[in-house]
Symmetry: C2
Subunit: 435 residues, 2 copies
Amino acid sequence: MESIIQPRVLKGFRDFLPASEIARADLIEKITAVYRSFGFVPIDTPVLEYTEILLRKSNGETEKQVFRFEDNGGRDVAMRFDLTVPFARFTAEHKSELYFPFKRYHIAKVWRGEKPQAGRYREFVQCDVDTVGSDSAASDFEILLVIQKAFAAIGVSGITVRVNHRGIFNRFLTKLGVNEKSDDILRTVDKLAKIGRDKTEKELSEITGSKDRAAEILSYTEGAGDFEATLKKIEEMAGGKEADSERMRDIYEMLEAAGIEKNYTLDPSITRGLDYYTGVVYETFLNDLPEIGSVCSGGRYDNLAGLYMKEKLPGVGTSIGLDRLIAAMSELGVVSSRASYVDAEIFCLDAKDALLYQKAAVSLRAQGLAVEVFPDAKKIAQQYALTDAKKIPWGIFVGKTYEKDGTFDLKNLSTRELSAGITVSEAAKLILNKK
Amino acid sequence: MESIIQPRVLKGFRDFLPASEIARADLIEKITAVYRSFGFVPIDTPVLEYTEILLRKSNGETEKQVFRFEDNGGRDVAMRFDLTVPFARFTAEHKSELYFPFKRYHIAKVWRGEKPQAGRYREFVQCDVDTVGSDSAASDFEILLVIQKAFAAIGVSGITVRVNHRGIFNRFLTKLGVNEKSDDILRTVDKLAKIGRDKTEKELSEITGSKDRAAEILSYTEGAGDFEATLKKIEEMAGGKEADSERMRDIYEMLEAAGIEKNYTLDPSITRGLDYYTGVVYETFLNDLPEIGSVCSGGRYDNLAGLYMKEKLPGVGTSIGLDRLIAAMSELGVVSSRASYVDAEIFCLDAKDALLYQKAAVSLRAQGLAVEVFPDAKKIAQQYALTDAKKIPWGIFVGKTYEKDGTFDLKNLSTRELSAGITVSEAAKLILNKK
């Protein structure tokens, strides 16, 4: 007799039981439908790639977090830590097979060996959407509209997307004479909400070598009223009207035309730490739970696949962090609480009638219903316990009459109302009407 | 200037371009809908697990193929090589949170470092479905019915499921006095179609130490006409009627009741190499391409999670090998050839009208259509090239009239028929009618 191995999962990894997995599948299906409705098409890439390809551009922090090893063929390989780097490699490798502007979505797992903490996992799902091959306000706007539609589709309409433009910020930093420090400055400003104003000012003073410059940068990051007023302010601080600030106006005009401008604010403190962004950038917060942080971030970049090919490909995209979003939705109590997809359970009253149950199930499914047959003649209380656990709305009792005239009894399991002696099509009508 | 890294994927791994990924998503959605309609619910488990948990039961062959490494925390971890072992671990770990009979589906990637060859990949998708906690003919039958419905749903109705029963086979081997060699014998018979009759007979002679016994085993593996005739034959060779052969009769009766018995044959040579099967076993072949091998196999086991808990859990399940199936469907020319989900493209004739295009798109999407806006005022030939590549059926030309009275021109891109000056709802009706 072998000993029992204690079943357990790795730290930072999770099992999804049916109710959680149904909720997750539900969100993914709704987000997917929105992505598709805008013309985005799916791709897939391998979970494992050459480490050289995944890590060339990353900073030391990422390197420490990646799951990396030597495979049986002696190759240095790693599990993808985001969907952006594989997308860049994919685009370069297949550019002659793709049509541009190329609009793709990719919803898949990524892995990072982060310190496990509340809401942080080592395996999580990202929902990415990008348009490459177009540098237009239309593409920028479209991604912002996709964000609004995706959140509306999953039942979260109270969102605020904080938008900014890296180009205007960089112009301002150039005017200030600190453009060669811009990466460090933007990364520091990115932490503003987290580390606070004082600490940010101190760090900026160190980076720029001047308290005045630090103060001016902090003043740049502050809004000045509505979208246009703030845009005017930062545009002036950056040296006046240019293509970058006009782009912001075009985008905002489209947001107004779509009637959704109220969900978007211009927040000059939004920079996104990542250095590949060059244009519009944004983060998305839930109005009822802003403290959970951004649940959907992204922006425009002017050179997606520069590590892997010579041509420059501009693009714009965003990524919904599904796990943080689900955590927030659970806290807000707006996660689907379905426990199965079943419309009706056919109870097993007598093992000898198993054949009848199966026949009835086949006929009901042919009417478009999801029907489960309880397989064993267990006590009825145990069968009801299962329909309770799976939150199945209808129960069906099939007996000898089904053989004679095709009728059975249908019970509404929440009201306990019984419809006795009805046919398959009558039952289907009743059930579908109440869906 | 950094040098370019040659973009490439690892041997045995693949990118999926939009058309292939849409085809794959299409199959997964249809299979999922069938699984759900029978009451199966989804779960998910981590891609990485403790090696000790994944590999305890496996043979040396699996061990050589698994992607295994030490993580940054010094843990011995491995990527899952199937969905069955994680399911066993999952069931043991969460048994108090699950309702039984527990019916789950799991459609996900698994990894094996096999020698890459035609149709063999190191990363592939399995579509598993299992019922645990019931040892009934109803559960056995249900999985067989699910197979038929899943293949019908994806447009492959010409299948043959070859069914057998490990219990009857084992009774026969016991009667023959070679039951202690049964694992080796079943594994050898499993290779019959691959290595041929002569080589099988030779191996069986070596295992059983007798040419007569080898000949008798080979004679057992041969059919004897229809389902019942073959069942009678093997039942007699095994020593007469028992629960195992009666179970086969019950299952067949249900297949007849469902009117699908013609797709199922009793083939006593089907054993499934894996040693955890104890009851009914089956493999599924495409009638138009049997040489590709089984695309969906499974069976009944009496102790799913014995490595991880003391209680015995009987179950029955099957797994569709999606990649081999897609390869077969491509060869048969029955794979979906959609290249996008878009109903209509709004062409960009004048960059100044970008706002109008976006407004029209928002209104059309509100009617349930998937609408893409071409973002740049490129040459119209280039825009048509994109709608061709994405196989988009309709084109829309929006101009100043849209601002005045909400009308635009709609073009059927295959017939080139133009509907001039129509409204959003008229266009939606036309497009949805032709879907």
